[in-house]
């Protein structure tokens, strides 16, 4: 075994999960997925519901067995091990706190099951309660505390046995917006304080970008792209990834010439310029999709400097700025995002004629 795989927290090798009898008639939840998650990493599995992210988590936890492939935890095969023999803990989406136990009893449960000595249990419970700032509620029943507090207890309960990997199955989805924001920061802090590898499952792209060291974007049982949040956002490998993460304009165009990872492209709307190519450009035809993030676009007053021209169809205000929807000559719609403090002070209104420029290196060629 090579040195690299021995140090990886989780090494998933060509793993598939099929529900039903076979691939033809069953449901393929995971399709030949390989993934390496490093130690002490905050790793996020991101995708729409039904993409296989929760299945992957359940395979690691041991609630399901893979149809094919193998999963290694710090170099050790997990095959055939029941959940109670895997040094991995889960924070469940609906917390699954034990209703007949107090907060402290919930947290000590895992340690008791590991037959730790009572003195160690009580000191660890105290420590973990402190970690999630719940000391004052240790003796409450779990139905006597709020949703956010239950979330913290679920976290503390999963952290108390010091798992080698912590699995989090959409743990923040039941919280309201403000609490969710707080818990995002909290989770990030807990991960760096404990040094435990976190595998976080979410369908919320913003959550994934703010918290993760690396993100895997999944769809239909496949991993489409793995990378740090910046790579995923700035250089999406596929059209689905670009579309799923953040807002993006996708315009039709053609490739004039290419040079390694760069190409000269011509938008159907007229503009010509440099664009970056995806990792596997060979599969591209001459007609391609070109993506531009809305914040890469800006208005200019001088028609001569404009790359695109069009008419403003819709303006929406979102607090820190405005989104403008502009219909360009080809009939395609382009979204443009301006922050309140941006230099374009002129107030635009629906129906106004608009001249748009593209930022440098803002065009990306996508594969489907």
């Amino acid at each position: 075994m090579s040195k690299q795989t021995a140090t990886a927290a989780i090494d998933i090798r060509e793993t598939s999960k099929v529900y039903g009898n076979d691939r033809a008639t069953g449901v393929v939840a995971l399709d030949d997925v390989s993934l390496v998650i490093e130690d002490n990493e905050f790793f996020t599995l991101l995708g729409p519901s039904g993409c296989g992210k929760t299945t992957l988590l359940r395979l690691i936890a041991g609630f399901e067995q893979p149809t094919h492939g193998e999963i290694l935890l710090f170099g050790e095969h997990l095959e055939g091990l029941p959940p109670y023999k895997r040094p991995v803990n889960t924070v469940f989406q609906h917390y699954a706190l034990f209703p007949h136990m107090t907060v402290a009893e919930n947290i000590s449960f895992g340690l008791e099951m590991l037959d730790k000595p009572p003195t160690e249990i009580s000191s660890v419970v105290r420590e973990v309660l402190g970690l999630v700032q719940m000391e004052h509620l240790a003796d409450r029943k779990t139905n006597q505390i709020s949703g956010g507090q239950q979330q913290r207890v679920a976290l503390a309960r999963a952290l108390a046995p010091r798992p080698k990997v912590l699995l989090l199955d959409e743990p923040l989805s039941a919280l309201d917006f403000k609490l969710r924001k707080e818990m995002q920061v909290e989770l990030k802090r807990l991960q760096s304080e404990t040094g435990i590898t976190f595998i976080f499952v979410t369908h919320d792209q913003e959550e994934a970008l703010t918290m993760s060291d690396r993100v895997a974007v999944m769809k239909d049982g496949l991993i489409l792209q793995v990378g740090n949040p910046r790579e995923i956002y700035d250089r999406p490998a596929k059209r689905f990834v670009a579309d799923f993460i953040g807002d993006i304009n996708i315009l039709k165009g053609t490739i004039d010439s290419r040079d390694g990872t760069r190409a000269r492209v011509r938008l159907n709307a007229g503009h010509q310029g440099e664009a970056s190519l995806p990792a596997n450009p060979d599969s591209l035809g001459s007609e391609v999709s070109i993506a531009i993030r809305p914040e890469q676009l800006s208005f200019v007053s001088d028609e001569g400097a404009a790359h695109l021209t069009g008419c403003i169809r819709q303006i929406s205000y979102f607090g820190s700025g405005f989104d403008y929807e502009v219909e360009i000559a080809t009939g395609e719609s382009v979204m443009l995002r301006l922050q309140n403090r941006s230099s374009e002070h002129r107030a635009y209104e629906i129906g106004d004629h608009a001249f748009i420029t593209l930022g440098d290196n803002s065009m990306l060629v996508l594969t489907d």
Binding site: A61, G62, F63, P82, P83, Y84, K85, V88, N89, T90, F92, H94, A96, L97, F98, P99, H100, F109, G110, M113, L114, K141, N143, R157, A158, P161
Partner: protein, 314 residues
């Protein structure tokens, strides 16, 4: 200001009238319930209580003279020659025998009923009703007939013995009928649904994601059962045990038929007093003492259970 105060008193007068009307309505609506409780609960029990302090009539019934003989008789025996009282454990033995038989029945019902209820609760919802239906079907037949059916199964020429002899496992029939085993089996058969249904009701509400969570927290199957499933099903288990224990204590058809009258049980003893023995006060006294003991043990359990037990949850 004066206007306001008259207004106020008028208002309060109408409020009082309204409240009175509401109270009358409430009493009217509750009257069927109150009447039922009085007629089938309080009145018969009062008759039993009064009878237990009277003398037995010569030809059954009671004669209206105050007497504590019925209660004395429970613990003391009157010498027929010199009318002195001597302590006797005869009836205490019957109490003890009945209580231990009822306890065995309850434990056996729990051991069979809990897995059954768990099995049904883990079935897909559509199939649960079918299983519950199967559990309750025997109830549609008279207990006496079902007990006779047990008799046919257990007797020396019964289904069990004949088939065991047929396949050559035994040479001669194992006597099963007219033993405590037979009585216990009959009682378990008769009262099993009372155990299964309340446990099923509490297991049905159990969130099986909790089971998954405890597996994840290193609990083995046995420990999940002990630490999660049983504590959460505890209200159902307690209800089931009470529902089986109490009728088993007073059962008389099953012990009479399957026990062959070899060992007298409390139920048979009480029946005897109202039948052949024609001692209604004594029968009433035994029934009341039995009831008192059950109530005391239940109250002790509830007090203990309330302190240590699980509060009901949704």
């Amino acid at each position: 200001m004066p206007d306001q105060s008259t207004n106020h008193s008028q208002l309060s007068a109408s409020v009082i009238a309204e409240e009175k009307r509401l109270r009358n309505t409430r009493i009217a609506l509750l009257s069927p319930g109150i009447l039922t409780i009085f007629c089938i609960g309080i009145m018969p029990l009062s008759i039993v209580l009064v009878y237990s302090f009277l003398e037995p009539g010569d030809f059954g019934g009671v004669s209206w003279n105050l007497s504590f003989d019925a209660y004395v008789q429970l613990l003391f025996e009157e010498d027929i020659f010199d009318e002195t009282l001597a302590f006797t454990t005869d009836y205490l033995e019957i109490f003890f025998r009945s209580a231990s038989l009822a306890l065995f029945t309850t434990i056996a019902c729990l051991l069979v009923g809990f897995p059954t209820a768990y099995f049904i609760a883990t079935q897909p919802p559509a199939r649960r009703n079918a299983w519950l239906f199967l559990i309750t079907i025997p109830f549609w037949t008279n207990l006496l007939i079902r007990t006779y059916a047990m008799l046919l199964i257990l007797r020396d020429q019964g289904v069990i013995n004949l088939s065991l002899i047929e396949i050559g496992l035994i040479d001669s029939a194992i006597p099963m009928l007219y033993t405590d085993f037979a009585v216990c089996l009959g009682l378990v058969y008769a009262y099993l649904p009372f155990m299964v249904l309340p446990i099923f009701a509490s297991l049905e509400k159990l969130d099986f994601r909790l089971v998954e969570a405890s597996y994840d927290l290193y609990a083995t199957r046995f420990r999940v059962l002990k630490r999660i499933i049983i504590p959460i099903a505890k209200p159902g288990i307690a209800a089931g045990c009470i529902l089986v224990l109490i009728p088993s204590l007073g059962a008389f058809i099953t012990p009479a038929l399957l026990g062959g009258g070899k060992s007298l049980m409390l139920g048979n003893l009480i029946e005897l007093q109202f039948g052949q023995a024609r001692n209604w006060p004594f029968g009433s006294a035994i029934a009341l003492v039995l009831m008192l003991l059950v109530m005391l043990s239940l109250m002790t359990y509830l007090r203990y259970g309330a302190k240590k037990g699980v509060p009901a949850h949704g």
